[in-house]
């Protein structure tokens, strides 16, 4: 029997748990009772985090496509083939003809190493990861307004807020242990505003539930700020001392009366006024958001408005306040921090800056590094579909289910001359690959994850990987070696973290020894620094907080006569993203077994559909069959489908239209029609 302290592999909350094993077999989990985030609790996914690890579907050997079929191969052959074919493509089409997709499920060390491999060994900035699909608009919008694209406060701050404003986050389902903090806070008297037209659990507990139309967040937030200004409820000293561009911003809000916003949002003007007053009156108000804000063709504008609301009311730089994007994946914060992004090295040091390139080139022992930003994940798929990208190396992502417009994604992936997928299971994407590399999962390796509150935490190895599977970092280092680069020889992830710390100021004081038990929150610039629970205390990371005006742009696609419903997509509590792990976890899979659509009873009546009927849902891009769930969870005219299910893939319907600044797709709004089949 062995109990291994590690971090849950699911969401960005970063709960700590013990993996319990006996004779090399995982037999359960136990929560850590001292952990500051999870405090002895776990959600249902955490309690089942062991269940998929030893599933017989795990990949145990490299696979190479021969005569159209994926066949087992040796590591030697697979690694050689990957390097040889990537190099061959680059020789024929240039360095930027290949794309590296990193993974928010992999460790910081692995994200850093794949970034190093792409830039230092294959000389391309074409590296990105699924942060592009979830919070790229946050990273862009908060970097512009505050200077740091991360949660400003800590999870402990939920206990200290007087008001929590949740907009576009189904917190009790997607960050359950943070959601429970909100539930507990409300019982202790904290006010709660929920802006989300689904009647999520938090809405049942809210003082005010705003069911605004999908994609109308800018109108709602602008009107709230209009009310705050016209009623003189803004924090004038904070605006004067800590911000810039207020005058232009306020001018832009002049026309944003609640009445104007009411027409766009579908809310009553009075509801907007009440929300504005509640927010402005709170001593400490926290803004909490997630995909409902970010996954829009105007995602950056949504984020700008959230930041502005905090600046306008002075809710920044102290406990119980702040702008708090809840990061989705267990290590999506870390993936971004490590520079698995096309334009920056670790901790957002721009590749366009010659000084930065020189710094990294010297540390890595290479002559030069590429200076022009590479392709975003979403642009890379477009380029592949257009035949302008030939090779793709995907580590731990399943774009065939997770990217918008599945037909487009499939065409893009099939169009590639070389697709390499490194994963723990043969995902829908891996099925299309030319080479598949078997990876160790979180329970089988060492490393660090950074949670949504910037807490860098250690995961620890509980058991050996299956068959010949190797840790992602080991595979990346072996690829570098095969490519003739000798600068990736490490004794283990701890040594990789030493290199990261030396090159990355906010991780400068982080080492495996210091992370023992409960981790450290960045910025942690030196070995004695205790970490930083709250950002922007005396001034924003960028200096003054910037008010960035945003004008309302409607979603790219709205309901019309041909496609009369608005489809919004998301996740359920029991599954994780493309179901690779949760659909192989018995109890989780039992809870939600197949694809479904939520339809309001009014709409169901009009369509003549009943609970469990099978309907055909079609958009301009594709169609799927799903079972009906008649529920007041959604408002009339809006339907919801989770994107976990390959056999009813929501992303066959979604719209691959991107935010112009962050390149995030508009997963949250597209138009569909619905027809009963069975």
């Amino acid at each position: 029997m062995k109990k291994t302290l590690t971090v849950c592999p699911y969401c960005g909350t970063g709960c700590a748990l013990y993996l319990v094993s006996d004779g090399g077999r995982l037999i359960g989990v136990e929560p850590s009772v001292t952990h500051p985030v999870s405090r002895g609790g776990l959600c249902v996914k955490g309690w089942n985090a062991f269940a998929f690890v030893q599933h017989p579907d795990r990949l145990t050997t490299p696979l190479i496509r021969r005569n159209g079929e994926l066949m087992p191969a040796s590591w030697n052959e697979a690694l050689g083939l990957v390097v040889e074919r990537l190099q061959s493509i680059q020789q024929r089409y240039g360095h930027d003809s290949v794309m590296f997709c990193s993974s928010a499920k992999a460790t910081n060390e692995e994200n850093y190493l794949l970034m190093k491999l792409a830039r230092g060994v294959f000389f391309t900035n074409n590296i990105d990861h699924c942060a592009r699909l979830c919070h790229s608009s946050t990273v862009f919008g908060l970097a512009e307004t505050l200077g740091s694209g991360a949660m400003t406060n800590s999870i402990a701050c939920f206990d200290q807020a007087d008001l929590i404003f949740v907009i576009g986050s189904n917190t009790t389902e997607q960050h359950p242990l943070i959601g429970t903090r909100i539930l507990n806070a409300v019982r202790s008297g904290t006010k709660l505003i929920v802006a989300d037209n689904r009647r999520i659990r938090l809405a049942r507990h809210a003082d005010l539930h705003l069911r605004h139309k999908n994609g109308s967040d800018v109108a709602l937030l602008n009107a709230m700020m209009h009310v705050i200004i016209t009623e003189g409820r803004m924090n004038r000293p904070f605006i004067e001392n800590r911000t810039e561009n207020y005058a232009a911003f306020a001018e832009n809000l002049r026309e944003w009366t609640p009445e104007r916003a009411a027409a766009i949002t579908g809310l009553e003007a009075g509801e907007i006024v009440v929300a504005a007053r509640l927010f402005a009156e709170a001593k400490n108000a926290m803004i909490v958001f997630s995909m409902g804000i970010t996954q829009h063709s105007h995602g950056v504008d949504n984020v700008r408005c959230c930041a502005a609301l905090a600046l306008l009311t002075g809710n920044l730089g102290r406990p119980g306040a702040g702008v708090n994007p809840l990061r989705g994946q267990n290590n999506v914060q870390g993936g971004c921090d490590m520079g698995a992004l096309p334009d920056v090295f670790s901790c957002y040091q721009p590749v366009a800056d010659p000084g930065m390139r020189q710094k990294f080139a010297r540390a890595w022992g290479v002559a030069d590094l590429p200076g022009s930003p590479g392709l975003a994940l979403t642009h890379a798929m477009d380029a592949a579909a257009a035949g302008e990208l030939q090779g793709m190396f995907i580590m731990g992502e399943n774009p065939l289910l997770s990217d918008p417009d599945q037909a487009h994604a499939r065409q893009a992936l099939q169009n590639l001359e070389l697709l390499v997928v490194q994963d723990i299971f043969l995902t829908e994407t891996a099925v299309l690959a030319d080479v598949v590399l078997p990876a160790a999962c979180y329970a089988e390796k060492e490393g660090t994850f950074t949670n949504t509150e910037r807490r860098v935490q250690r995961l620890r190895k509980a058991l050996e990987p299956p068959g010949e599977a190797l840790a992602d970092w080991e595979i990346i280092c072996a690829l570098a070696e095969r490519a003739g680069y000798g600068g990736m020889r490490y004794s283990g992830p701890a040594q990789v973290m030493e290199e990261i710390a030396a090159l990355t100021s906010s991780y400068g004081g982080i080492s495996f020894e210091r992370l023992d038990q409960h981790g450290l929150q960045w910025p942690c610039p030196d070995a004695k620094h205790p970490g930083t629970p709250v950002l922007h205390v005396d001034h924003c990371t960028r200096g003054p907080g910037r008010f960035s005006p945003a004008d309302y742009r409607p979603p790219h696609e709205t309901a019309d006569d041909d496609y009369p419903f608005v489809l919004t997509t998301g996740r359920t509590y029991f599954h994780w993203h493309t179901g690779t792990m949760t659909r192989r976890s018995h109890l989780l899979d039992r809870e939600e077994r197949s694809a479904f659509i939520e339809i309001n009873p009014e709409d169901a009546g009009r369509l003549g559909v009943r609970e469990n009927d099978i309907v055909l849902v079609a958009s301009r891009r594709g169609e799927i069959r799903v079972a009906v769930r008649v529920t007041g969870m959604v408002i009339p005219g809006v339907v919801f489908i989770p994107f976990h299910f390959a056999e009813g893939a929501a992303n066959a319907l979604t719209n691959n239209v991107l935010d112009p600044e962050s390149s995030i797709p508009e997963f949250k709004v597209c138009a569909v029609r619905i027809r009963r089949i069975v």
Partner: protein
């Protein structure tokens, strides 16, 4: 009466480890107290009930029922050495007694008894609760009891196997301290006890409206922790993994807080709402089990109240219920 000084404890268990498979309270790296082996961390007998349930050594969260190859199911060998499980409190022992009876009833659960049958149970009591508080004397229901009198562990055997372990200890002392603890234990009152009994009466008199359970259900995120940490929860699910010529059947702790727990193949669910599931969780322990077994099946170990992220463990819910409907 035999006793062990605190310094002798490590040697005492190291000696027992030669003839038993040892499971005892250990301090895990982050301060969580759990049942484990001597390799998992320093022995941590002090501190009260363990954070996780010690009965998991007999009924783990997940275990293989059988592995069939080419349609043949080989006999599973019995464990080479019996388990010696240390650290159960008086209420843990009540829970163990309760699930022993459950697993023995009807189809005797051979998987459970494979480990349980010859296991030696060692209870802890005395002034070794949280902050030195009194853990009441078990006085039976186990093979051996280690009673902390404030300066040493008094060793009280109740069975033959417990007796032979006690016999191996050299040091003896008088039994005055034990008498004092026995008397104090008689007067030991767990305030939760009266609360759940009053809640039980209200439930059995059908005096709790559905709206109450809707409120509780609204606060439940279905983490399932309450069931999974409960030493008297025995529900499990079954899965088969089929690959090549192998069928591997395993079972895992299930939870009545999940919609799929009672969902029928048709899709109909007799416990189809959060309110019904919340009611069932409490009702089962406080109303249904008393009718079936003649006793409330919550022994106040406190684990569901500790693990619940929203404060709706059985004692908390009982408190609300008594405050509002009595």
């Amino acid at each position: 009466m035999k006793f062990l000084s605190a310094e002798r404890i490590a040697d005492f268990f190291a000696a027992l480890a030669t003839s038993f498979e040892l499971r005892l309270p250990v301090m895990l790296p982050d301060g969580t107290r759990s049942i484990g082996t001597l390799e998992d961390g320093p022995i941590a007998l002090q501190g009260g009930a363990l954070d996780s349930k010690p009965t998991a050594v007999f009924f783990p969260q997940q275990e293989v029922v059988f592995t069939a190859r080419d349609g043949e199911v080989p006999d599973t060998p019995l464990p080479a050495r019996p388990l010696l499980v240390v650290g159960l409190t008086r209420c843990d022992l009540d829970c163990l007694r309760f699930i022993d009876r459950f697993f023995a009833g009807g189809w005797r659960d051979d998987l459970y008894f494979r480990q349980r049958e010859n296991a030696v149970i060692v209870a802890v009591s005395g002034y070794c609760g949280a902050g030195g508080s009194l853990l009441p004397l078990a006085a039976g229901n186990c093979d051996l009891e280690l009673v902390w009198d404030g300066s040493c562990w008094l060793v009280v055997p109740y069975s033959e196997s417990g007796g032979s372990i006690a016999d191996s200890i050299a040091d003896s002392t008088g039994s005055g301290a034990l008498q004092r603890i026995r008397t104090e234990s008689l007067f030991h009152i767990d305030e939760g006890d009266a609360i759940i009994r009053r809640a039980s009466e209200l439930l059995r008199a059908n005096r709790v409206p559905d709206s109450f359970w809707e409120e509780i259900g609204d606060r439940c995120i279905a983490c399932t922790g309450c069931n999974l940490v409960c030493p008297t929860c025995t529900c499990f699910g079954v899965q088969d993994w089929r690959y090549r010529n192998v069928v591997e059947r395993s079972r895992m702790w299930d939870s009545c807080q999940l919609a799929g727990f009672m969902r029928e193949a048709s899709g109909h669910n007799p416990m189809g709402s959060e309110a019904l599931r919340s009611r069932r969780r409490i009702h089962h322990k406080l109303a249904a089990d008393p009718e079936r077994w003649g006793e409330i099946s919550c022994y106040l170990c406190g684990r569901c109240d500790a693990v619940c992220p929203t404060g709706i463990g059985i004692v908390a819910v009982s408190q609300e219920l008594v405050a509002r409907f009595e």
